[in-house]
Amino acid sequence: MNASAGTPATHDGFDVARVRAEFPLLARTVHDGKPLVYLDNANTAQKPRCVIEAVDRFYRERNANVARAVHALSEEATDLYEGARTALARFINAPSAQELVLTSGTTMATNLVAYSYLLPRLEPGDSVLTTRMEHHANIVPWQLVCERRGARLKAAALEANGELRVDEFIALLTPEVKLACVAHVSNVLGTVNPVREIAAACRKRGIPLLVDGSQAVPHMPVDVRALGCDFYAFTGHKMCGPTGTGGLWARRELLADMPPFFGGGEMIREVRIEGSTFADPPARFEAGTPNIAGFVGLAAAVAFLESLDMQRIAAREQVLLDYATARLQEVPGLRILGSAAHKAAVISFLVEGAHAHDLATLLDLEGVAVRSGHHCAHPLMQFYGVPATCRASFSFYNTEAEADVLVAALRKARKLLV
């Protein structure tokens, strides 16, 4: 069966079939010739041809190290790498490309803030504020740094529907809080947090706010200036780019005041055995040879997403979310975790009497790729009192027909297990 069969060719100008044709991997089959139904986009997204070709072309025609040699290839590679920085900065509406540190992903970005920004400022009795819905990348770095300093990590609670208790978060913004952290979009529940409101409250109290944008940047227009946050971390591989790419946007004055985290080449001004001086941001935080080809690919991904228009992508994914939610609710015993009013196309669910891993294995047999487990969000699983969930996460290239395949596969699995 063609997964796009039965799907209207366009949705508000969004030609799903044409978009799918740009992703070579979506045409493959799994077990016994079953068409792949890829619903693990919150884990990582598939790559369009232009990204794959950009990486390939870089290695074939332009491979050289950046910012070191004066030869032509190195200058071309440097231009491409810095061009990616400019494209990414524009994509999130950063005031300047020089405020964007290129990292291996969100985890490196949050760790950079933990060790370079937070650690030197944290004192015994201080705290860091996060929420119960965070990915471990927005919990563990803060814990590690807090432990070193005798500081405390505290977390705002959620409503049963998966919305953040914003009033509680704001009430917890007490004077000893040195950094507040929140996901823009929850990777498990899909909840879109009211970052502007949170950022305004933080600003009023002089507390910097870090936003984990991993699940937002691929799915909606992001404007860091409008959000009003101080740090914004994101990852490239979830936005159709190569793995090992991502970024940390931070206000210029914050970056300027942060010491280096990794030391090595590229990030220095002058090195003497007695001591070194360091480059200005963002180079200060980019020691060693970066993932140049990866960022060339990520720049291609940004161009691809811009050509589709992030507003249209968000609208298309809302249609998919509504459709898939309604269809899933037809499955007996199925419970969806998270029903926030403002929600991205991520659906975590449980089926009574069936373990999430058994469901995921049986869905896989039908060609449907979902994630099962705790989704790197143990505190959230503890909040709901469940050990694991199944998560179907959609992208703009998914179809209603694929949601139908998911539902049919779930019914079949349920017959076997329940």
Partner: protein, 150 residues
């Protein structure tokens, strides 16, 4: 991976053990006990053993876990009685070879031999391993076991 092996992972024999597991009535008296937990999966298993002259004379388990853990725990109970620690170790080694897809003597494994299907499913092997690992922990006087690092 082989489509055939994948399709047979949830064969009726496995499902039957998981639906109505044997050895699920708690023992009146346990000489050893341990908890098996795979936190990443969310699998939780409690094992009780009765021992007579250092040989297993009673076994019971309670699992909140996937089909594979429940079925393996049930099937395991049919093979444990009369074994001492060395015997359980030998069984664990045999079972490990089976999970790796190596041909060998599977008669001693009884119904557990069905997990040869996991040779094609490395990500789920830890599920089938958990009950034996928990029994070995109980015999060694350890309170907990996990197979997630495996």
């Amino acid at each position: 991976m082989s489509a055939v092996a994948t399709a047979t992972l949830y064969r009726e024999q496995v499902l039957a053990h998981a639906r109505a597991p044997g050895h699920s009535t708690p023992l009146d008296h346990a000489d050893a006990r341990a908890t098996g937990a795979n936190a990443l999966c969310g699998d939780h298993l409690e094992v009780q053993l009765a021992l007579t002259d250092e040989r297993i004379s009673g076994y019971a388990f309670h699992a909140e876990a996937c089909v594979l853990v429940r079925a393996a725990a049930s099937m395991l109970g049919d093979r444990l009685l009369g074994l001492d620690r060395a015997g359980v170790h030998a069984m664990a080694l045999r079972f490990e070879r089976l999970l790796q897809g190596e041909a060998g003597d599977t008669d001693a494994l009884g119904d557990l031999a069905v997990f040869v299907d996991l040779a094609a499913h490395p990500a789920r092997r830890k599920c089938a391993r958990l009950p034996l690992a928990t029994v070995l922990a109980a015999l060694a006087g350890r309170a907990t076991a996990t197979t997630e690092e495996a």
